[in-house]
């Protein structure tokens, strides 16, 4: 038995195709991104080694820091909105008939492409014919906002479809975790006279702390690399008001053909995601991991 199941040739045959693809298309590229970041390169001509110049420029590039600030803002919004999703899941995990159906309906937007969602919300936000402004004018507001053209609100306008898109995803995760809380605990607390609020806050929440931690990482890292929806809706505009790290990187690389500088931005994004994942995990480390 052991001999058959430790046959090196078979193992290589089973693991190598996937492993080589992973190396070739994921790991080697992230190393190369760091390397290209040391080059002056337009993507077509030859590379010129310029050391850390791209990274030095990055540090003083105010347009880049503006995009980083927007990404961070999205991350903060996303983490705050987790509280709302948690609340909905707590309600759902109580004695709610049709809880299963509710969470499925909530999930629908998440399954659609960000491109389709962006296009749909561009119509919703359309200055004159969109649902939003027709509603506002019908209740007497004469100058409804230009949702995607006003530099002061565009980032918030973009965040609404993001909530709409991801709400069902987080509710689903929280709901699944809450369903795993042992029923006896909840019942005995109820018999002891605990209110539903106390049961939720004092018993259920601590028990799903591990899952909450994971969702915080998902929300922060997901926001830092957020791209599709913003790219389709505004391309980072107007005037950089909705620029985020990923859209800034994409523009540097594929609009202005600054491949070297774009690589530096991409490498920064990678390091940022890895560091933040690590920090959040350390900060929120619990003594006893609750595994589901």
């Amino acid at each position: 038995m052991n001999k058959v199941m430790s046959d090196k040739k078979v193992i290589a045959l089973y693991v190598l195709p996937a492993f080589l693809l992973l190396m070739l298309l994921v790991y080697i590229p992230i190393v190369l991104t760091g390397y290209y970041g040391l080059m002056k390169w337009d993507g077509i001509g030859s590379m010129e080694f310029i050391g850390l110049e791209n990274y030095r420029n990055l540090i003083v590039d105010s347009a880049f820091w503006r995009s980083a600030r927007h990404s961070l803002l999205l991350a903060i919004f996303s983490v705050i909105s987790l509280i709302g999703y948690l609340l909905v899941s707590l309600v759902l995990s109580g004695r709610i008939k049709g809880a299963d159906l509710f969470r499925k309906v909530y999930l629908i937007p998440m399954l659609l492409s960000s491109v389709a969602i962006a296009q749909l919300w561009m119509r919703i936000y359309h200055p004159t014919n969109g649902v939003m402004n027709r509603l506002l004018t019908s209740i007497g507001i004469e100058q409804p906002p230009l949702w995607l053209a006003d530099t002061n609100i565009v980032l918030y306008s973009i965040f609404i479809p993001i909530i709409w898109q991801y709400a069902g995803f987080y509710i689903l995760i929280y709901y699944a975790a809450l369903r795993n809380v042992p029923n006896e605990l909840v019942e005995s607390a109820r018999i002891d006279g605990a209110s539903p609020w106390q049961i939720g806050y004092k018993i259920k929440l601590p028990l799903i702390a591990g899952v909450i931690k994971v969702t915080i990482v998902l929300a922060v890292v997901g926001s830092l690399k957020y791209f599709d929806l913003i790219w389709v809706m505004t391309q980072g505009g107007p005037n950089g008001a909705s620029e985020v790290i990923a859209s800034y990187m994409y523009k540097q690389a594929f609009t202005t053909y600054n491949f070297g500088y774009g690589s530096a931005v991409g490498f920064f994004l990678l390091i940022l995601c890895l560091i933040i994942t690590y920090i959040i995990r350390k900060l929120t480390a619990t003594k006893e991991e609750v595994q589901y």
């Binding site: 045959l13 996937a18 298309l25 969470r103 399954l111 018999i191």
Partner: protein
């Protein structure tokens, strides 16, 4: 049945009913918010511009313009994009699920020193932002003559979806009883036969789950196609509808019909397989 431990209080049941009513209203309002934009989309896909602009947003179209769909399918090249999405998605799903099953089998069933290291490398792959790989991938595909070729997209999807697929498969492989497999080996069954005739069929439910999750990811993917594909004949729907809408910016009915066509396969899959989708998304996120 409500267990009331203070039978003296008569107000409690009434209060509880009001609270329940409030909670259900809350949940239903959220459900409406999640679905209403899509209902509105469906309605305007069947209207002409005059109706879109003059009727209330949720009014039914007076004369449903099903022609919008036929028109964008042929004139807007949407049929071509749709076909590309189907075969690129399907090829990548098949490759990913088979390769990932091989890896998961080798990691959970076979004995080798590097298995936990290799598993760790696949799992770290979950955290890599796509944008940090784009420029090197662009350069690589240019150099191997795969730029503007569907194979570049299929291979990229396969590589990037491998970690999450393995993660979902792992949970199932760990819980699967091993006695049948052990007995087969005792009887002199080869590893290949064991994998293809015993293990793979036993994991059919989770393979279906990963396949549907992969299908959704691939169908919706945008950045890779937008970066590596430039010919219309290879573009998938996500990028194709971008082009199309650019040209038909003022024709709301056509835009609506295009968007409906692009989301319909996902909606149909959802109505048939919602349990599997829910299961896959849960399994693919929590352990992360």
């Amino acid at each position: 049945m409500e267990k009331d431990h203070k039978p003296s209080s008569t107000e409690k049941p009434v209060l509880q009913k009001v609270a329940k009513l409030f909670l259900y209203t809350f949940l239903i309002v959220i459900a409406v918010v999640q679905v209403l934009p899509l209902v509105w989309l469906f309605l305007f896909s069947l209207k002409n511009n005059q109706e879109v602009f003059n009727l209330p947003p949720l009014a039914l179209p007076q004369d449903p313009q099903w022609g919008n769909y036929a028109r964008v399918w042929t004139e807007g090249n949407i049929g071509q994009y749709f076909f590309n999405s189907v075969y690129i998605t399907a090829s990548a799903v098949i490759l990913t699920v088979i390769f990932a099953s091989f890896v998961t089998f080798a990691i959970t069933r076979m004995k080798w020193k590097l298995s936990s290291l290799v598993l760790g490398m696949f799992m770290v792959g979950l955290m890599i932002p796509v944008h940090s790989t784009l420029i090197p991938l662009f350069n690589f595909f240019l150099n191997v003559n795969l730029m503007d070729h569907p194979l570049a997209i299929i291979l990229t999807y396969t590589a990037f979806n491998m970690p999450i697929t393995i993660m979902i498969l792992l949970g199932f492989y760990y819980t699967l009883p091993r006695d049948i497999e052990e007995a087969a080996i005792m009887d002199g069954c080869s590893v290949h036969r064991l994998f293809f005739q015993i293990t793979l069929p036993m994991t059919a439910p989770v393979v279906a789950t990963t396949a549907i999750i992969n299908m959704i990811y691939n169908w919706n993917e945008y950045v890779f196609v937008n970066t590596f594909i430039s010919s219309d004949k290879f573009k998938t729907l996500t990028v194709g509808i971008q082009n199309f809408i650019g040209q038909y910016q003022t024709d709301w009915g056509a835009i609506g019909a295009t968007l409906m066509i692009s989301i319909l396969p996902i909606l149909i899959a959802f109505f048939i397989l919602s349990n599997r989708i829910v299961e896959g998304i849960t399994a693919g996120s929590i352990k992360g």
